[in-house]
Structures are given as structure tokens and as C-alpha cells.
Symmetry: C2
Subunit: 115 residues, 2 copies
DNA sequence: TGCGCATATAAGTATATGCCTATATACTAA
DNA sequence: TTAGTATATAGGCATATACTTATATGCGCA
């Protein structure tokens, strides 16, 4: 057993359910390395802005990610105070990095956040 | 980054989706410590046998668990050869043990598998 | 062979999910 | 204030999910 604080089955299943969607899981894997705003995800996933907004909202609602307004944009990031943070971090660390999405964003001149 | 073999986002999201159900997640947490058969899960979850069978089937279909017939029973266990085995193991290790379910099963004289 | 137990499958239903379009809200800058 | 950009919400629709009951299949044993 790892020396990580245990999370309840209930909390864990709620988090894992959200991570069970390919789009959200990719978003989280990106957020593990880079903060992002909604319009960047729209560009990356070539998906409607409301769809992205709804995915983001679900993750924000359970406290998995947090938002911070930066001028015109709302930048999202993993919330380290989330009860299951250690768990989701350890999951994301086992997934391939998604830096190519960020690189393409920069190439297209659509990268917004600076980090 | 941990030194675990990477799993694709696709494979991972499929596995995580199944783990996003409270019943299945609890089953998996139990299987992390003890092999079980369908009738034991029926007793533990107080759920219809077809429901249990369907949950088990979904996990078997993607290779997450494997079956082994032992006489009258089919005993299920985590499949170590599953591509995402390291990932699901690391998740389950962060969840509270579910030994009380097994203990209650034994008290009721309904424990089947011997391990 | 035939009965009983364990498990699987089929079919139906209610609810949840993920996407879309249309519209509302919030902030920036002229 | 007004226009433009970013984000959120509402409403609708198609599909997926989780459960149920009814029924089929598979194995062990008398």
C-alpha cells in the first residue's frame, strides 16, 4: 500500500466517472502540465464552446479543477486541495503527455495563458 | 513521472469509465484482495444476479478481470496481464479496504472461494 | 438421465450522458 | 456606451447506462 491518504469509494467513483470520458481525461492530462482556458480547449478538441464549457463545469463542480480569471479569460487548473488530488495525479502521470496539443496551439497562434 | 508503462488515453478512459461506477469500483477493490464469484457479489451488494453478472461481464470484456471455473462456481480475479493493470492497481491501493464485506459473507456462511 | 444450483443472456424501461444550437452574461477596449 | 470576445446556461435530441424480470445454458451429483 502506498502512503497516500485514502479517499472514500464514493468520492473516488465520482471522480473516476468524470475521468472515464476521453475528452475530459485528455483535458485533465493537459492540465497536469499546463493551465488552460475554455477557448483553448475548443481549439484543441475542435468541439463546440458549450460542450467544452459543460465538461469543464462538471469537473469544477466536484472540485477537481479550479478557475482563476485572468483579464478576459478564465484559466482552469487542477485543484490541489481536491480530496482525490493524489489519486488523479497518479493516474495522469501514467498517461502519455499531451504536449503536441499545446504545440499545435502555439503554432496556430492561439495559445492564451502564459505558463 | 513514475516508471510505469504508459497506457493510451483511449484504453485508460475505457477502464476508468468502468471504474466510475460505485458498484464496480467496490467489486474491484474487493478483487484486489480476494477472488470472488458472482453469487458472493449478489450477497454483498444485495443486488439481482443478472445485474452483478452484467457488471462482471463489462469488466471481463475489456480484459480487466479474468474468470476461472472452480467446480460449480466461476471465480473472478484481477487480470494482471491487462494493459492498464498497474494503473488500476495503483488506484485501488488508494481506496479503503473492503474486508468487512468478506467478513460478513463468512459470518453468514456464504463465502465460496477459498483464498 | 434428471434435478438443483450458478451463471449468462434477452428484452424492456427509466434515467443519465454528451452533443448540438440559441441565447444570456461578463469582461475589455474604443 | 457600444462592439467584440470569452464563457455560461437553457433546451432539445440521440445514445448509453443500470436496473429489472423472464428465460436459457452449464456443471455437479444422485
Amino acid at each position: 500500500m502506498l502512503a497516500k491518504e485514502a479517499i472514500s469509494i464514493d468520492k473516488a467513483s465520482t471522480a473516476l466517472k468524470l475521468m472515464g470520458d476521453k475528452t475530459r481525461l485528455t483535458m485533465l492530462r493537459i492540465l497536469a502540465d499546463h493551465d488552460c482556458c475554455v477557448c483553448e480547449f475548443v481549439e484543441i478538441f475542435q468541439m463546440s464552446q458549450p460542450s467544452v464549457s459543460q465538461h469543464v463545469r462538471k469537473m469544477k463542480d466536484i472540485g477537481m479543477i479550479k478557475e482563476q480569471r485572468k483579464g478576459q479569460w478564465i484559466v482552469y487548473s487542477l485543484d490541489e486541495s481536491f480530496e482525490g488530488y493524489d489519486m488523479i495525479r497518479s493516474i495522469l502521470e501514467q498517461l502519455p503527455a499531451q504536449d503536441h496539443h499545446l504545440e499545435q496551439l502555439i503554432e496556430k497562434g492561439k495559445r492564451v495563458s502564459c505558463n
